[in-house]
Amino acid sequence: MDFHFTDEQVMFKEQVIRFARKEIVPRVQEHELKGEFDAQAFHRLGDVGILGLHFPQAFGGSDADVVTTVLAGEALGEAGVDGGLTLAYGAHTFLCADTIFAHGTDAQRTAYIPKLASGDWIGCMGLTEPGAGSDVSSMTTRADKRGDRYVLNGNKMFITNGPVADVAVVYAKTGKDLKHAGISAFIVEKGTPGFSAGNNLIKMGVRTSHTSELIFEDCEIPETQLIGQEGGGFLMAMQTVEWDRSALLAPFIGGMTYVLEKCVRYARERYQFGRPIAQFQAIKHKLADIKIFIEAARTLCYRIAWCKDQGRPLNHLEAAVAKLFVGDWGLRPANDAMVLFGGYGYCHEYEVERSFRDSRLAPIGGGTSEIQKKIISKLI
């Protein structure tokens, strides 16, 4: 075993941290308090190549490996970028663009990947429905073939980037009686008649990522917008799990490093009973627990990334372990950080409060903790 990063990877991570601290982090608080998507920051991520890092250069990417891509996400969190923007990035790059890249035709790749990699277009993915969350196969959105077109009808729910997206990868049933095998994936552009997004949902955390319903009412799209084969959609959605359990988890882990730095500074500066609270055992223990979580979680994440780099098929058990650990065990350090700040930690103006709210999504989004346990217990 070897846990080394290459010098290039280390340098790249540091570069991303410097960039984010300078150009993104100063804008975070304002947007977070208002619950606004920071389009300018998002486009800057595209300008510097983060949005398309792992795509080939021919498509506007940088040919980065998965571990490097994960480090970029970790770096954003570590710099202090909020969970909303990193979620918007994750949904855009890994759930939308990568699905088109991995399963699309050359024409689809050429049409969409450069625009998505640069951030000129924003992408989203529509899978979850009001009545189909963990149980994906029960989705009711349909795509009916009529000549050389598909007609989509149905609703998608909790779609990250929904209100701001230029293009969506949408999953819909094409088979009548088939469950998973009847799900297909389509590319639907904003402005297509019959396609609309609902209002931004006001959320507890990750507030700078806009989330909404996607509505399809007799939405006609050319058959060339089908990704891959009919019935292949479920496997495509499952393949995004590789990214979800690595690059999408990484900003959360990096974010805990940021929170730890904030806690350390506060513990040194905050005096009670005549001395910095850092000198109290209970405070040191909280700092230790945050540190332990970070170190435990990041290795799980790197393992998924490294295996993907080796071209190995996803180990669903290891992926579920990573998601479950980061989601469930991450709540306590986020809580500890907020409590360490006392009354200040309960106020919006402190980053630990934001982190606490953002962290609550981890056991819910991208497959709940209960679903992870179900997967693990089945595979044991």
Binding site: M1, V264, Q281, L287, A288, E295, Q372, K373
Partner: protein, 377 residues
């Protein structure tokens, strides 16, 4: 990066497993015997087999931890927890102390016998009534014509009743630096207390050790230039061994729970089919895999000499020890009444787990050290 376990490590683990499948490890029961001589003979017999399999020597001479070492330690700790503790204290703690800080003469006299399983060693650090974190130690050596006369008492010494050599940590002539007195079993003034009855690790021989003006020749004293550094290293080695012990414990407890959950039926189906049990196992495996990777990375960091080595070793010790207790507890819960009967890995693991949070650097002290590290104190 590389997350694969090498073929060499896998083969070594298989060889170790093979040792216990020959006779089912039946004579491990002798370790539970009250008579120190019986325990000693059984320990030496196993140590010789382990040496032959290539287990005892790695990491002793260079004093370095490594992922390969932890992988094979995990394997033995899962098969024979008490034996593991005994041989590790002998080699990877006492042996490393001699190898890294000892003189050539000391090394020549001890190391080859130790790593071939012909003798047993131990280190004696802990003392009653004082925190090992707060030296100077009460055990002292006073200069005399033949070298030093050592007086003091050590508590909870693993291998105390069966060791051929004891390295007792103490001070010399009132100086503050820590030295280690290498004391042979037969040395006059060495009094080994009765073997302690313990909650867990009942096959390990643990006792207090007293030194009553025990004469130790000068050439049997390890006097590192920086005594506090040596003491720190010994504690790090101790924590590394205990961390590896947690991995073995987790593996053993998890495996027995899975086997039981798949074979024990209730309501017409195996109990693993119930979410209450299946989800428990999922949480156990999540903790185990996370702990395993953290321990491996801590070992790798130690090997690479990273500046965060100490902090990560403490992170691994705390996380792994607490995960082990949780997994052991849930394992016992899954086995239900059957788990509550003495003599199965679930209940033994449950009893053993507490030791791993107490021994070495306790989880409380470890957290303080991690806190100090992140505060850069």
């Amino acid at each position: 990066m590389n997350f694969d376990i090498g073929e060499e490590e896998k083969n070594l683990c298989e060889r170790i497993k093979g040792l216990f499948t020959v006779d089912g490890g039946a004579d491990l029961i002798h370790l539970e015997n009250d008579q120190p001589e019986v325990v000693r003979r059984a320990t030496l017999r196993w140590a010789a087999s382990l040496a032959e399999a290539g287990y005892l020597a790695p990491g002793v001479l260079n004093g370095r931890n490594s992922v390969s070492l932890v992988v094979m330690q995990e394997s033995l700790a899962a098969l024979a927890p008490s034996l593991f503790l005994s041989v590790e204290v002998s080699t990877r703690i006492f042996g490393r102390l001699v190898a890294v800080y000892g003189t050539s003469e000391q090394k020549d006299g001890i190391l080859s016998n130790l790593t071939s399983g012909r003798i047993i060693g131990t280190t004696a650090l802990s003392e009653e009534g004082m925190n090992i974190e707060n030296p100077p130690l009460a055990t002292t050596g006073v200069s005399s014509a033949e070298g030093f006369r050592v007086s003091g008492s050590k508590s909870h010494v693993v291998n105390g009743p069966i060791a051929d050599w004891i390295a007792a940590a103490g001070t010399i002539d009132g100086e503050t630096g820590t030295s280690f007195f290498l004391i042979e079993k037969s040395r006059k003034g060495l009094v080994t207390g009765n073997r302690l009855a313990t909650l867990g690790y009942t096959g390990a021989a643990i006792s207090p050790v007293h030194f009553e003006g025990c004469p130790v020749p000068s050439h049997h004293v390890i006097r590192p230039e920086d005594g506090s550094d040596a003491l720190k290293m010994v504690r790090l080695w101790e924590d590394q061994v205990l961390t590896a012990a947690t991995l073995g414990l987790m593996r053993r407890s998890f495996d027995v729970a899975v086997t039981y959950a798949k074979t024990h039926r209730s309501g017409g189906k195996p109990i693993i089919a119930y979410q209450e049990v299946g989800f428990k196992l999922a949480e156990m495996l999540t903790l185990f895999q996370t702990a395993q990777l953290l321990a491996y990375r801590a070992a790798w960091m130690s090997e690479s000499g990273d500046r965060e080595t100490d902090a990560l070793a403490h992170c691994a010790k705390v996380f792994c020890a607490e995960a082990a207790e949780k997994i052991a507890s849930e394992s016992l819960q899954i086995l239900g009444g059957n788990g509550y009967i003495l003599g199965n890995p679930a209940e033994a693991g449950y009893r053993d787990a507490k030791y791993l949070q107490i021994a070495g650097t306790s989880t409380e002290i470890s957290r303080m050290k991690i806190g100090d590290a992140v505060l850069a104190y």
